[in-house]
Symmetry: none
Subunit: 195 residues, 4 copies
DNA sequence: CATGAATGAGACTTCATTCAT
DNA sequence: CATGAATGAAGTCTCATTCAT
């Protein structure tokens, strides 16, 4: 038999990320993905039941991955809530810094999946964000954060901001310096615009 | 005489907003739009050359509209830069408060258009945002705002945040109070999380 | 608008009968049908939701039609049960005599539909056969028919015999004379082989 | 040593019969057959050149088998033509009584093969039936059978009847008693419906 | 001999767009 | 202007067959 050599599933996933990033999910065809992955079109279906599931898998991978690394940030008891929040920002940025295409897919296509049906990945996605919220709640209790902030609103506020900046960067990784972006985000998140 | 020929173009546009909001641009069909607009499918092509141009027009309308109302906020010389920024936030939120569907389309589909080709609307969209940037620059000069902030980054930061919160609200207008969201946004934008 | 001229639905149905007869249902493609009907492939879907439904419609038409003409045979009270059965044989043969292709489709493809799901046409198909059974039951009560015969078995016996003979004829309408076949069927049904 | 290499060809054939009976020839996949046979998909091609040939082989086997046992019935000179015909009916029914799946395949798929190309099995199939015809001709000569009967027509008549009844039974072997069916067939074949 | 991953041709179906009325 | 039937290109997915191991 022809042994499943290499990691064709991973090849396909990476090809899909590139293609989705370039054309958007709906403009991308299975043929494009298979070509990018140097694989026959039909072979994709050995690994994924359909096109949507490929996108799904990309996000599953992303959030599982992110969620797993979460503890590396928060387990350190010496850090203040604010520092831990900074750590989460770093986690996100670090995850994408090697892969701008993934950032673009993340920014553009996640909504397509979010409200469709109960997706398993939603769990880790939401769970990740909710851990962040815990940090904020903690900071409020310690009087380090402003007590009037609505936690859910903050969650969407900062997540939207980060997402949009990732998009800006990913669209043109050479033009914007991700570390500058990162620094600004951390500052604005904590202190806002007003001097 | 033809009774109430009304404004068929507007009917179509409004129908499209609803349909796009519900299914997303690519999942929406011309047939759905025409039905929602109570118009024959072929009639759409009397007003728009193709499907994409409908989306385009939605954004044109949106940003032209927004850009036009801009002066109402900034012409008042008694207001500080910070107050004017608040005014821009209000402008955005007010624009969507009557039309959650438009908010959803705005949030989900704008990216599809942004990097495609030179779109005319991009002008007013960018122009609107850039006026905001002027305000920030002004505030920095007056030492009211933090001087280290990168203007472009701030632009994307706050725009992403607002966009994501509009999405949250539009998805469930009865659950979240847009004014609470608005208040939080204004505060976080200016003072951040830290007490 | 382009008015639905002629009877395109009927054209497609007739084309499908020809194509199905020639290649069998599964070997037939929508493209073949559309070509035979002088219609664009996509147009078929204006009239039928999918390929299987075309086959379905063929049988619906066939059996509804047959069932409707049934009374012309049985309402005549002067006829004996045997004569009425002969009349049913005639009904069947007459239905196909103008359309050998329909006979072939009928013989080859009906089974594909029969056990799939509850098909509406099954009703008229079964109803037609069951009317025949009523005639037999009647004949038995009058002592005109052999009392030991199992009605269901007879139903399948004679129906299978007729079907197979229709196939023989339809495959080569010029070689076999349908009236000769018909005469033999009637005789064998009633008196069997033994002198 | 390779334990029980058994007869893989036979395994595949039997698996195919089951699978074809359940789904029909065209709905059946090579993968289903290989799984049912506990064999790798590719292995099927060591024994059969393609899918159609499997079906072919099933019928070859069936008719060769039937044809071989034929003499057991007709060589007995003490039997009348009518009794010999009964014997042929028995042959057929006995062949299927242990294997309803084979009956279903036989009934549903034989036509697909019959008019395709010159199939070798057609020989034994036709030869078998023609032997039956010889018996009828013989009976006619002896004035035991009705002289007006067209031999070919009778062949298709009785074969269609039997086939349809086998189908009825095979679809639900527990509901219908094959011996009752057999008895009815023999009677109807010889004496018909009329008392 | 045996395996089953890989292939790629081809089928069904959708839908933006056209155009005869 | 308006209509909606008709078009046909294009995309997703299936599956018989091949072939490297």
């Amino acid at each position: 038999m022809r042994i499943k050599e290499g990691n064709k599933e991973k090849d396909i996933l990476e090809a899909a990320i590139k293609v989705f990033a370039q054309n958007g999910f709906h403009q991308s065809t299975m043929a494009q993905i298979s070509e990018q992955a140097s694989v026959a079109t039909g072979s994709i279906y050995l690994y994924f039941p359909n096109k949507k599931e490929i996108l799904q898998s990309i996000f599953d991978m992303l959030w599982n991955n992110l969620f797993e690394t979460f503890d590396t940030v928060t387990s350190n008891d010496k850090l203040s809530p604010a520092e831990k929040l900074d750590g989460m920002i770093d986690l996100l940025f670090d995850r994408f810094i090697e892969n701008p295409s993934l950032a673009i897919v993340f920014v553009n296509e996640q909504n397509h999946l979010l409200f469709d049906d109960k997706n398993p990945f939603t769990n880790n996605y939401q769970r990740f964000l909710d851990r962040g919220i815990e940090l904020v709640r903690n900071g409020i209790e310690r009087k380090e954060f402003w007590g009037e902030v609505d936690l859910t609103i903050f969650k969407y506020f900062i997540f939207g901001a980060v997402r949009n900046l990732l998009h800006l960067w990913a669209q043109n990784p050479d033009k914007y310096n991700l570390n500058t972006i990162r620094k600004n985000v951390k500052y604005l998140m904590k202190h806002g615009l007003v001097a």
